[in-house]
Symmetry: C2
Subunit: 189 residues, 2 copies
DNA sequence: ACGGTAACGGACGCCGGCGTCCGGTTGGCT
DNA sequence: AGCCAACCGGACGCCGGCGTCCGTTACCGT
C-alpha cells in the first residue's frame, strides 16, 4: 500500500515523505510520542504544511513510522514460535520483545496503547498477542512454564518492562536485559 | 514546619491551603503530574493567584502534597526492617511499595524522579533507598534472596511496577499484586 | 465597631503548539 | 522549451496553559 502510493507521488513528494518518516522514527524512539509535530518537520527539513499534508494526524504518522517495528515484533514472536524447544522459544520471545521496547520509547508507548484512541494497528497487535498466547500455551504444556501463568501475566510483564526508563538507550537495554532474566526466573516452573 | 507556618497564617488562608493540598492529592493520584495548575485551583474552589501564592511552583506543591505518601513509604520500609524474619520483611516491603505506587499515579511519577529537576524529597528518597538496601542485605544473608541480587535490581522492579497502567485504580492494584508475586518468585533463592 | 492589613481572585499579556490558507516553486510531460 | 498541475512552506489566527498585577474582600486586634 505504501509503495503503491509512492509510485503515484511526484519525486520530491516521495523524498519528503521518506525523510519525514525517517525523522519521525528517530525522534519518536528517542523522546517518545509527546514531541510536537513541528519538531519532526524541522528535523525532516520540511514545512509544517507538508507534514500535515502527508500525515493529517499524529496517529497516522506513528502508524506508518512504526510499521517496521511492528514487523520486528512479528519476527520475534514468529521466531519463538518456530523454535523446536518451547521454553527456549518462549524465553527468546520475552528477551527479544523487551529489548525492542527498551530501544524505542515511542513504540513502547504506542504498543501499550497509551495513544488516545488506539493506533490503527490495534488489530495487528491482536494477532501478535494471539501468537504470544500460543507460545505461552506450548511452554506451559512442556512443563517449563509454571502452570498458573496466564497470557495476562505475560502482557503484564511487557507493560512492566515499559516502565523501565533511563537516561541513555544503552542503559535502558541493559536494565531491560536484567529484568528479562528476573522475570523468566519468576515464570519458570 | 508546615504546622508552624499554618499557625502564622490567617484562618481563611489556612483553609485554602488545606483545600488546595487535598485537591492536589486527589487529582495527582488520579491523573498524574501532567494536570494543569488551574485544574487544581478549580477543584479547590480557589483563584489561580491564591494557588501560586501558596505554592510558587508545581514542584513545591507536589512536595507538600506527597509528604504523607512519603511517610507511608517510610512506614512500609521500616515495618519490613522491624520484622524478625528477613525474608518476610523483604517481601512485605516489596508488596507494600508496589501497592502504594499502584494506588497513586502521581506519586509513582514523582518517586521515579520523572520530575524536571527532582523533588525536594530526593534526600528523603535516598534514606528510604538505604533502608531498602539494608533489607536486601539481610534477606540475602539469610539465604532467602538469591545471592546475585543487588540493590539495583530491587530499584529496577520498583521502576517496572510503575509501568503498570490501567483504567481503574482497582485494576492497577490487582495487576500490581500479581506482579509482586511474580517478582518475589524471581528473586527468591 | 472599626480601622488596617493580610489574603483573595478576576483579568491581563505572554508563549508555544496546533491546523490551514495561498502565493511561489518545481517536477514531469509534450 | 514551455506549460500545467502537483507540491512546497512561510505566515496567519486560534487556543490553552502559564505566571502576575491590582482593586476588592474579610479577618483580626483594639
Amino acid at each position: 500500500m505504501t509503495e503503491g502510493l509512492s509510485q503515484l507521488l511526484r519525486s520530491d513528494a516521495r523524498d519528503n515523505r521518506e525523510r519525514i518518516l525517517e525523522a519521525a522514527r528517530a525522534v519518536f524512539a528517542a523522546d517518545g510520542l509527546a514531541v510536537p509535530m513541528r519538531e519532526i518537520a524541522r528535523r525532516a527539513d520540511v514545512g509544517p504544511a507538508t507534514l500535515y499534508r502527508h500525515f493529517p494526524t499524529k496517529e497516522a504518522l506513528a502508524t506508518e513510522a512504526f510499521a517496521d517495528r511492528m514487523h520486528a515484533c512479528y519476527a520475534i514472536v514468529d521466531e519463538g514460535l518456530a523454535d523446536r524447544d518451547p521454553w527456549r522459544g518462549f524465553t527468546s520471545m520475552v528477551e527479544g520483545l523487551f529489548e525492542l521496547h527498551a530501544r524505542d520509547r515511542g513504540f513502547t508507548a504506542a504498543f501499550t496503547a497509551e495513544f488516545p484512541h488506539a493506533l490503527d494497528f490495534a488489530a495487528d497487535r491482536e494477532r501478535a498477542v494471539q501468537s504470544i498466547a500460543e507460545l505461552t500455551r506450548r511452554a506451559k504444556e512442556a512443563g517449563c512454564l509454571r502452570p498458573d501463568v496466564e497470557l495476562d501475566d505475560v502482557i503484564l510483564v511487557l507493560m512492566a518492562n515499559s516502565g523501565i526508563q533511563g537516561a541513555s538507550p544503552a542503559a535502558r537495554v541493559a536494565a531491560s536485559r536484567r529484568f528479562a532474566a528476573l522475570v523468566i526466573r519468576g515464570l519458570q516452573a
